[in-house]
C-alpha cells in the first residue's frame, strides 16, 4: 500500500463501484438463497420456515441427489485430468512448431461455438443407427456392429457420452492457456540449461514444470468450478434424462426449483453447491501454494 503513495481512502473510492456491484450481484443473491433454502416455498405463495428440513430431505430422502453429486464430482475429476494432457500438448507444440498459433486457434474453435450448437452437433453424431447417427455409422462400416449403442439414452452410458463432449469442447481452451504459459517462459532459461546439460525432457522437468505451476493452477480451478456448474450441455443434450440418469447437481437444482415448484428445496441444493465449490477451491489453492513454495 505504502508504495503507491496514495491514501487508503482514495483506493477505497476507486474500488468501491466494482465492490458494490459485486456485492449486489453476487453476495446478496447467495445470502438470499441461503435463506430461501430454509423455507418450504413454491416460489409463488407464502413460504413456511422449516429450518434445516430441506437439507435433511436432500441428504437422506432424495434418491436423485447423491447420484447427481457423484456424477458431478466424476465430471470434475475428468476435466482436471485433461489439463496435464493439454500441458503436454502445449509443450510439444511449442518445441516442434515454429508458429503453432494457427493450430492452437483451430483447437480453440469449439470454445467459441455456443453450447447449444455443440449439443445439437453431438446429438446427431450420437444418434441411434436407425436415425443415421455418425458414430454408430462409422462403427458399423468398420464391422464393429456389436459396439454400437444408443449413446445418449442408455442409462449406463449416457453420462460418459456427455463427459466426452465437454472434454472435447474445453480441450482447446485449456490448451490455449497452457500454451501461452509455456511461451512466456524466457528462452534464456532453456539456453542456460542447455549449457548445463539439461535438454528435452530434463528441461521440461526442471524448468517448464516449476514455472508453469501458477498457470496450471488457474486451469485446474477453472476446469473444476466449470464442471461443478455444468448445466447447459446436459440440458441441451438429455435434459437430465433418461429418468435422472444424467442429472448433475445443477440440473437437479433447476428441475426441483422450476419443474417441481420446490423453490426452497432448489435453493438448499444451490447452497450445497456453493459450499462444495468454496471447499474445493480452498483445497486446490492450498495444494498449489505448497507446490509453488516447494519450487521457488
Amino acid at each position: 500500500m505504502k508504495v503507491l503513495k496514495v491514501p487508503a481512502r482514495t483506493i477505497a473510492v476507486f474500488i468501491l463501484p466494482c465492490l458494490l456491484l459485486y456485492v449486489c450481484l453476487v453476495f446478496v443473491p447467495i445470502l438470499v438463497s441461503l435463506y430461501t433454502g430454509l423455507l418450504k416455498w413454491d416460489g409463488l405463495t407464502t413460504a413456511e420456515f422449516i429450518g434445516l428440513g430441506n437439507f435433511k430431505d436432500m441428504f437422506f430422502n432424495d434418491p436423485v441427489f447423491w447420484p447427481s453429486v457423484r456424477r458431478t464430482l466424476l465430471y470434475a475429476v475428468a476435466s482436471m485430468l485433461e489439463i496435464p494432457l493439454c500441458l503436454g500438448m502445449a509443450i510439444l507444440l511449442n518445441r516442434y512448431l515454429k508458429k503453432a498459433n494457427t493450430l492452437v486457434s483451430i483447437y480453440f474453435t469449439p470454445v467459441i461455438l455456443s453450447v447449444v450448437i455443440i449439443g445439437q452437433l453431438w446429438k446427431t453424431i450420437y444418434n441411434p443407427t436407425s436415425m443415421g447417427g455418425m458414430l454408430n455409422g462409422v462403427l458399423v462400416s468398420l464391422g464393429l456392429d456389436s459396439w454400437t449403442h444408443n449413446w445418449l439414452t442408455e442409462p449406463n452410458i449416457a453420462m460418459y457420452s456427455l463427459y466426452l463432449v465437454s472434454l472435447w469442447q474445453f480441450f482447446g481452451y485449456h490448451l490455449l492457456i497452457q500454451y501461452t504459459g509455456v511461451q512466456n517462459i524466457p528462452d534464456e532459461l532453456y539456453e542456460a540449461a542447455k549449457i548445463d546439460g539439461a535438454d528435452g525432457f530434463k528441461a521440461d522437468r526442471y524448468i517448464t514444470l516449476p514455472l508453469i505451476v501458477p498457470i496450471f493452477k488457474i486451469s485446474i480451478i477453472l476446469a473444476f468450478i466449470g464442471s461443478l456448474q455444468a448445466f447447459d450441455l446436459v440440458m441441451v443434450m438429455t435434459g437430465g434424462g433418461p429418468a435422472h440418469a444424467t442429472d448433475v447437481i445443477s440440473t437437479h437444482m433447476y428441475n426441483s426449483s422450476f419443474m417441481s415448484f420446490k423453490y426452497g428445496y432448489g435453493s438448499a441444493i444451490a447452497t450445497f453447491l456453493v459450499v462444495v465449490c468454496l471447499i474445493f477451491t480452498g483445497v486446490i489453492n492450498t495444494i498449489f501454494n505448497k507446490l509453488e513454495k516447494k519450487y521457488n
Binding site: L21, G43, L44, P128, L152, E154
Partner: protein
C-alpha cells in the same frame, strides 16, 4: 488544497455510487409498488369501462404477449401474427410485442418471471392444477368483466371455462378443447399389410410387431419432453381403470397408486416399449422432433392431442393420415372416453401496467380467434363455437373425421400434470420416462408414485 479538493470529489463520487447501487438493488421493490398501484386503479376505471374502450386513447402502449406458437410452418403462428398486426393497424397507439417460445421454455420463463412478480401482460397457462399456484399467488387478473363485453363469454363451449375458474372468477381464456387420438399413416399401414386400425390393445401390439418387422417405426414420440409419454400412458390408465377419475380418486383418498388398475396400465405400457413401438433413443428426442418423425412419413402412428390436425394437414403426409380412438386394454374401457386437453389458455397479468388496454386487446383477439383459425384451416379442436361447415370450407377428410370424434366424447380425464401437484407430477414424468430405457417391476413403479404422492401432499 489539492488534497481537500480530492477529498471533496471523492465524497461526491462515493455518494453517487451509493445512490446508484442502492437504486439497482431496490429496483424490484419499485416494480411491485407500481404493481400495487395498478392493481387498485382498474376498479376505478371499471365503472367508466364502456367509455374507456370506445374512446380511442392516444397513450402509447406496448403489450407483451408471451405465446407458444414458434413454428412459422404452422397455422397457429400465422394466426397470432396476423391478428396482432391487424390490431396494431386499427390501434396505432398499441404495439403488440410477441414473446414466442417453445412450450417447455415458456413454462420455465413464466415461472421465473412469476417468482419476481414480473408476469408479461398476456401469458399462457395450463388448466386446473398447473395454474392454481399462480392464481393462489394473485398473479392473474380476473377476466369476468371482459368476458361480458362483445358477448365473448357465449362463444365458449359449455363448461370449458370451468377448468380455468377459481372461486367463480375466470382467469384465462383457452385456445382450444382437444382430445387425444391416434393418428396413423394409411400408406404405411397398407405397405405393412394392415387392413384396419386396431381396436384392442392386443391388435395394437400385433400391428406394432408387423410394422417393426417391415422396418417402419410404429409409434412416433419425443420423450425428452416427458409429458408426451405420460399423455399416452394416461390413455392406457383411462382404459384399465374402466373409466375416468382414477387420479381424482387418489386425491380423494379412495384409491392409491398401488391399485391393480394402475399396475396393469404400467404393465401394458411396458409391453408397448418391449415390442419396440417407439423410435430408438426416444428419450433424447424433443417433442417437436418426435412429431416430425410422423409428419415426414417415417412413423406409422402418433398418439397425440387433436390440436395437431391442422399441422398434419400442412405437412408432407397430408392426405395420407387417418385417426382412430385409443383401443380398449385387456377388454376394459370405452373407446368413447378420451384424454381431454382443454387447451392452453391466455391469462392477463394482475400487475400489468396497462391492464385495460391489455384486456381490450385480448377481447379482440379471443373474439377473432375462431374466425381466423377457421380461415387458416386450424379450427378443429378450438374451444369456441364457429359458424361454417368444415367440409364445405375445404377442410381435409382427417379434420372432418376428428370433428366427428368430438361428437362421440362421453367423458374422460385430464393429463397427469393438470390433476396432480407439480412435485408429484415430476416424479411421475420421470418414472414413465424411465420405462422407455429400463424394464421395471410394475408394482415398484406404482409404489414410487404412491411414495411421491404422499411426500408432496
Amino acid at each position: 488544497m489539492v488534497n481537500r479538493k480530492m477529498k471533496q470529489s471523492a465524497t461526491i463520487a462515493f455518494t453517487a455510487v451509493m445512490a446508484l447501487s442502492l437504486a439497482a438493488c431496490g429496483n424490484s421493490n419499485n416494480n411491485t409498488n407500481d404493481g400495487a398501484k395498478n392493481n387498485a386503479a382498474p376498479s376505478a376505471a371499471d365503472s367508466g369501462n364502456a367509455a374507456a374502450t370506445t374512446a380511442p386513447s392516444d397513450k402509447k402502449v406496448t403489450i407483451t404477449f408471451q405465446n407458444i406458437y414458434p413454428d412459422p410452418a404452422t397455422p397457429a403462428y400465422k394466426m397470432i401474427n396476423e391478428l396482432s398486426e391487424q390490431y396494431q393497424k386499427d390501434h396505432p397507439n398499441v404495439t403488440i410485442e410477441l414473446d414466442t417460445l417453445n412450450t417447455d421454455q415458456q413454462k420455465v420463463k413464466l415461472k421465473t418471471q412469476a417468482a419476481s412478480k414480473e408476469v408479461p401482460d398476456i401469458t399462457i397457462v395450463n388448466p386446473a392444477a398447473q395454474m392454481k399456484p399462480f392464481v393462489d399467488a394473485g398473479l392473474f387478473a380476473p377476466l369476468n368483466d371482459m368476458l361480458e363485453q362483445n358477448g365473448l363469454k357465449d362463444t365458449y363451449q359449455e363448461g370449458l371455462l370451468d377448468y380455468y375458474s377459481f372461486d367463480n372468477n375466470v382467469y384465462a381464456l383457452p385456445d382450444g378443447n382437444n382430445i387425444e387420438v391416434v393418428y396413423y399413416n394409411k400408406d404405411l399401414f397398407a405397405q405393412a399389410g394392415i387392413a384396419a386400425p386396431p381396436t384392442t390393445f392386443e391388435e395394437l401390439l400385433q400391428d406394432v410387431k408387423i410394422l417393426k418387422d417391415k422396418g417402419i417405426t410404429p409409434l412416433a414420440i419425443g420423450e425428452k419432453d416427458s409429458w408426451t409419454g405420460s399423455f399416452l400412458f394416461m390413455n392406457i390408465l383411462l382404459r384399465t381403470n374402466g373409466g375416468p377419475g382414477f387420479l381424482q380418486d387418489v386425491l380423494d383418498g379412495k384409491k392409491t397408486f398401488e391399485d391393480p388398475a394402475f399396475v396393469e396400465a404400467v404393465e401394458a405400457f411396458q409391453q408397448l416399449v418391449q415390442a419396440g413401438a417407439f423410435p430408438d433413443g426416444a428419450t433424447s428426442i424433443d417433442a417437436n422432433a418426435g412429431g416430425n418423425i410422423f409428419k415426414t412419413g417415417k412413423a406409422a402412428m402418433w398418439s397425440i392431442g387433436s390440436w395437431e390436425t391442422g399441422a398434419i394437414d400442412a405437412s408432407p403426409v397430408a392426405g395420407k393420415v387417418g385417426a382412430f380412438q385409443f383401443p380398449t386394454v385387456n377388454g376394459k374401457g370405452d373407446p368413447n372416453e378420451f384424454m381431454l386437453a382443454p387447451g392452453s389458455a391466455f391469462a392477463v397479468s394482475a400487475n400489468s401496467e396497462h391492464l385495460q388496454e391489455t384486456k381490450d386487446f385480448l377481447n379482440y383477439f379471443a373474439s377473432e380467434y375462431p374466425k381466423k383459425q377457421f380461415e387458416l384451416k386450424n379450427a378443429v379442436g378450438i374451444g369456441q363455437k364457429v359458424d361454417g361447415d368444415l367440409k364445405a370450407a375445404g377442410y381435409s377428410d382427417l379434420a372432418v373425421n376428428i370433428a366427428g370424434l368430438f361428437n362421440q366424447v362421453k367423458g374422460g380425464d385430464l393429463a397427469f400434470d393438470n390433476t396432480m401437484n407439480p412435485a408429484t407430477a415430476q416424479v411421475h414424468l420421470s418414472s414413465i420416462q424411465n420405462l422407455f430405457v429400463q424394464k421395471m417391476d410394475s408394482a415398484a413403479v406404482a409404489k414410487e408414485h404412491q411414495a411421491a404422492f404422499e411426500a408432496n401432499k
